[in-house]
Symmetry: C2
Subunit: 288 residues, 2 copies
């Protein structure tokens, strides 16, 4: 892993198996399927429910600084704790949680390469024990606003007031507008298509079959091949911001791009906003 | 009907039956169920499909001035034509179309009281004949921006920079946040609840069993009873702006409120916007 820009950000399943109960380390599972943790998790890990614990309870927003500090406290995390994240679906929400921690300035972060799937495929033990965290002290943080894209950033890019690469990490059918959301998904929008000028680089192209990340060279080729380089800011988006957090992680930590934002509003915001510019590319597929 | 502020805005089914082919009159059917017109319509009427003809084809927006003029031209409507609107579901999208015409300054507007349902219940004839409109001339209009609320108006009201009554015309369960959208509806949002400070006055309370409007006195009581008077601007919203167009129609034409806006972005915009303030009232229903 040593050719990554920040090789320490990734830890292996074997490393986690050995250190999951070490002092100063807190392993946290965050899943798309919020019932997975209860079915069995890494020994010593705690679970965060992205729907009820990582977001504002009423309005659509991430935790505010007070809510974030409270989450850290009840999780037994101090500013000096190394937080190791992992989860299902190729670490989608584990990356999202890592983005949130980074947004609030938590310094010591790790991601378990391959996530829950790799752990299970290696037949490593799953615990159903409840983990009681000793409440900690955690100061109310200031957000690092440079890591987050808001709708106004996107409008500014489209109006030429900002310069940024836009990366759409959804599936090709979502990008073209053939579908508004993958089948069965409830997070939908009024319109299909993509933000004008965005490059289509589905998140899954960054990982291997076993869910671990491709080499730095392969990743660099992937993004640079679509014109997405570190020369200017990059904004990644998907539908609700979790798949784009995965790409955000790749660009920021594995390739070391200096300015990468996750647009957590993503398509469920953009595709519902009155007047927001959209491109659709259905014509090409309809022409036989 | 003479106690309405603008009694001429409403026409009866009997009047339409007599005048639907008069020179200078164009009857237009606009339905929620876009297949209804083809199944049978008022003789001489043309049909507009709200999904494909009244909105921008790609981004979420109403027709732009050029698109609107083109719609009028191919519908054989000139600035001097009296446009009589009707449709299914208590004239929801007929009201929405009337709002659109009003937004673009078309002066001569009528709504058939009771809509398609009343016409059918009275066993009036339904035609399946295709109506060929002679293309007309229609100048590209300037919009009357005072009739439309944008998300920034709502933010300004919430931040105390504007004064307006907000009226939520959705069902009580949508208002409280118990459901995000009625069952089976695809227009949904990330969050349930309502805009803080909005009065809950479901659109259906403005009509009688047969779909015709209540008397002016009853309507005045209904809205004033919830504090929504003509003393300041009123902004109505629902989920995609069609039910709120119905309430907009009532307030503007039947009660004669001077400043009424339809928020066509409505809940599918607001409930998806990152950081938009929302109120939910589930606690009260959970307390036994």
């Amino acid at each position: 892993m040593s050719d990554y820009a920040d090789p320490d950000i990734l830890v292996s399943t074997a490393w986690v198996a050995e250190h999951s109960r070490d002092a100063g380390i807190r392993v946290v599972e965050v899943d798309v399927d919020t019932s997975s943790y209860a079915q069995g998790h890494v020994d010593g890990s705690i679970g965060w429910n992205w729907q009820t614990e990582l977001q504002h309870a009423v309005r659509r927003d991430i935790l505010d600084p007070l809510g974030f500090a409270e989450l850290m406290r009840r999780s037994g995390i101090t500013p000096d704790t190394t937080v190791v994240l992992y989860g299902d679906n190729n670490n989608w929400f584990a990356c999202w949680a890592l983005w949130l921690l980074s947004f609030y300035g938590h310094a010591k972060l790790r991601l378990m390469n391959g996530g829950r799937k790799k752990w299970i495929e290696e037949k490593r033990p799953l615990s159903t024990a409840t983990v009681a965290a000793t409440p900690s002290h955690y100061p109310v943080p200031a957000p690092n606003l440079d890591l987050r894209a808001r709708r106004d950033h996107i409008f500014a890019v489209l109006e030429g007031q900002r310069s940024a690469h836009l990366v759409d990490v959804r599936s090709p059918d979502e990008f073209t507008g053939k579908v508004i959301a993958p089948p069965g998904m409830t997070e939908t929008a009024q319109r299909g298509g993509h933000i004008p000028g965005a490059a289509s680089i589905p998140w899954a192209q960054a990982v291997l079959e076993d869910g671990t990340f491709k080499t730095a060279d392969a990743l660099r080729q992937l993004y640079a091949g679509k014109g997405v380089t570190g020369d200017k800011e990059v904004i990644a988006y998907c539908r609700i911001g979790e798949r784009s957090a995965h790409t955000w992680f790749v660009l920021r930590y594995l390739l070391g791009y200096g300015r990468v934002r996750n647009y957590d509003g993503s398509w469920t915001e953009w595709g519902n906003i009155v007047g927001a510019p959209i491109e659709r590319e259905l014509a090409a597929t309809a022409v036989g």
